[in-house]
Amino acid sequence: MFNFRFAGLIAAFIIIFYSCSNDSPVTPNNEDPQNSSYLKVLTAESGTLKFELWSVTSNPMRFGYNKIAFKVFENNSPKSNGFVKFFPWLNYSVPTPMKSTPVSAQFNFTDSMFTGYAIFNTITGSGASWKGTFNYNNQLYSDTADFTVNAYSAAQILTIIDMQSSYTYYLSLVKPYNPAQGFNTFQVMLHRTTDEVTFEQVNNAQIYIMPWMTMGHGSSNNVHPAYTTDGIYQGTLNFNMPGSWTVYDTVYHDSHKITGNIPPKFIFNP
C-alpha cells in the first residue's frame, strides 16, 4: 500500500516535469508602414501644373515619420523623371519665427511616383497650421497648399541639443509603431538643424541602444542601429517580456557624443 502511494506520487511529478506545452511560434514584429497602398492627401494646382501629394502612412498626415510621394502633371501629362522638392512650414496665428520640419531633400521618381518622407514635428491646432510649396526640377512651382497633421501617439521624435556644435538633432522613430514581444526591427532617422527651417539628414552617426524595463533589467541580442540607405538606421530590439520598455539612445556624430549622460529614450509597450 505504501509503495503504491509513493510510486503514484512520483509518477505524477514525472508527468508534470516532462510534459510539453502547446506553443505556437510567434514571428518577429516587422510592421512596415512603408508597404501599404498610397492614399491621396491633397492636390495643388498652378495654371497647367498639378502636384498630387500621396501618403502611405495616413490621410491626413500624422505626427512623426510619414512615407509620402508626389505625382506631377503638366497639361495633364504625368512626369516620369526628374525630382520634386517639398518645403512645408508652420503658419502661426501670431507672429512667430518660421519653422519647418525634416523632409527628403528631393523626391526622386521610383515606382511611378516621386517618393520620399516627411517627419512632422508639430501637429495642426492651437494656432498652428501647416502649409507647403512644391517644385518640379527647380523649374515648375506650385501655389501654397494647406494640409493637416494629426496627432499620433505611437510616433516618437527625440530632441538632442548638442552643446558642442550648437546643432539641434532630431532622432525620429520609423519603426516599430506596434512592437511585439520578442525581436523587433528598429529603424530611426537622424536630422540636424541650427534654425528649425533647414534640416540636414545625418547619415554617418553611430547610434547605441540600451533597452531597459521598469523592473530593472534589459535584454540580450539587441543590435545597434547601423546606417542602411535613404537616411534609415536599422537595428533590432529584443523585448523579452511584456510591459513598458525604455530604449536609451546614445548618439555619436562629428567625433563626439551628442547625447547627454542620461541618453534620450524611446518608450515602447509590447
Binding site: 506545452s21 540600451m210 521598469t214 530593472g216 535584454s219 541580442n221 517580456m241 511584456p242
Partner: protein, 323 residues
C-alpha cells in the same frame, strides 16, 4: 480510504494547474528555501526538483500582461542543514538551474549552477517543552516556536552581466542578506499549526562593465530593500501525512541605478502555495507542492507571475539527546 482521496486530490490539483503556467528565466534562479530541522534532528539532506512555468508580468501600474513566449525553469536544489544545539542550526542550499524558452528567434536553452544560499537560525523557543515551576515540571503548551533567521545569498550563478542570452541566466548577480523572524503556534497539538514568517532582505550594489556579454559604459545597480512575508496553516493527518496552505508575498523598494532611485520600479507580488508532506519513514519525507500567482490586475507590480511545481525528498538523522 481517506488517504487515497487525499492523494488523488493532490494529483488532480497538480495536473489541472499545469497547462496555464510558464517560467521566468530573466529573474534568475539562485535561491530556495532552506531545509529546516526539527528539534530532534541533528542533520538533514534534501534534494528538490522544481519546475517553474512563467505566465506573464504585472507592469508598473499593476496591470497583468500575459507573455507570448513559453519559458520554463527547471531547478535541482541540494540542501544540507545541521543542528549545533537546541537553539542553533545552519543550512546551505545550492541549486542547478536549467532554463528553456520557446522564443523561436532566441537561444532555446541554457543551464548552470545557481546562487548559493546560507542560512542560520537561532531558535529562542520550541513548543511543548518541559518547564519547571518551583519543584513541579509540566509541559508548556503556551509558548510558540520563535526563531531569528539570518541568511546570505552568494552570487555563484550567472547573471545578465556575463550571460549572453536570457536562458543562460542562473543567478541574480549580487550578494544579498536576509534577516527574519519565524513563529509557529500549534492550535491543536499534533494536528493544526499556524506559522508566520517575516523577513527583510537587503541586496548589495553590483557594477556592470558588460551586459549580456557586450561591453557597455559601466553602471551600478542595487536592488531595493525587500520585505518578504508569509502565513501558513499546516494540518497533520495521523503520523504519515500533512497538508500546508500558504499565502506569501513581498514588497520591494525602488532599485538604484548609478546611485539614483529608479522611478516607478517598486515591486510587489502575492502568491499561494499548497504543500503535501508524506512520511513513509520516520527519517524520510517527501513534499510535493504547487505555488501559483493569480494572473489578474493588482496582484503584483513590476513582478513576474508563474506557476511552480516542486518536490523535495528529505532525509534526516535524528538525535534525541539534543536538549
Amino acid at each position: 480510504m481517506k488517504n487515497k482521496i487525499l492523494l488523488l486530490t493532490i494529483v488532480i490539483l497538480l495536473l489541472t494547474g499545469f497547462k496555464e503556467s510558464r517560467a521566468c528565466n530573466i529573474c534568475g534562479g539562485g535561491t530556495s528555501d532552506i531545509a529546516v530541522l526539527a528539534l530532534d534532528g541533528r542533520m538533514l539532506f534534501n534534494i528538490g526538483f522544481l519546475y517553474d512555468h512563467y505566465i506573464g508580468v504585472w507592469d508598473q501600474n499593476g496591470n497583468w500582461l500575459e507573455t507570448q513566449f513559453t519559458a520554463n525553469q527547471y531547478k535541482t536544489s541540494m540542501a544540507f542543514a545541521y543542528r549545533l544545539n537546541k537553539h542553533f542550526q545552519i543550512g546551505l542550499t545550492l541549486p542547478y538551474v536549467f532554463n528553456t524558452t520557446k522564443n523561436p528567434y532566441a537561444k532555446q536553452s541554457g543551464s548552470g549552477i545557481g546562487d548559493m544560499s546560507i542560512s542560520t537560525r537561532y531558535e529562542f523557543f520550541h513548543e511543548f517543552q518541559l518547564r519547571k515551576i518551583g519543584s513541579k515540571k509540566s509541559i508548556d503548551s503556551k509558548t510558540p516556536y520563535l526563531a531569528l533567521i539570518l541568511g546570505l545569498t552568494v552570487p555563484t550563478g550567472k547573471s545578465e552581466e556575463s550571460a549572453e542570452n536570457e536562458v543562460d541566466i542562473t543567478g541574480k548577480g549580487f550578494y544579498s542578506t536576509n534577516l527574519g523572524l519565524s513563529v509557529t503556534k500549534s492550535i491543536i497539538r499534533s494536528r493544526l499549526q499556524l506559522s508566520a514568517d517575516l523577513s527583510w532582505q537587503h541586496g548589495f550594489s553590483n557594477q556592470y562593465d558588460k551586459y549580456f556579454g557586450q561591453t557597455i559604459s559601466p553602471f551600478t545597480k542595487q536592488p531595493g530593500d525587500k520585505i518578504n512575508y508569509s502565513m501558513t496553516a499546516n494540518y497533520i493527518f495521523g503520523s504519515e501525512h500533512a497538508l500546508a496552505l500558504t499565502a506569501s508575498g513581498f514588497s520591494q523598494g525602488s532599485y538604484m541605478l548609478d546611485g539614483k532611485s529608479a522611478t516607478n520600479s517598486e515591486e510587489r507580488n502575492i502568491s499561494f502555495l499548497v504543500a503535501y508532506t508524506y512520511y513513509p519513514h520516520i527519517q524520510f519525507r517527501v513534499t510535493p507542492s504547487i505555488k501559483w500567482s493569480i494572473p489578474t490586475d493588482n496582484f503584483g507590480r513590476n513582478a513576474t507571475g508563474s506557476t511552480t511545481f516542486n518536490i523535495n525528498f528529505t532525509y534526516y538523522i535524528p538525535d534525541y539527546s539534543i536538549k
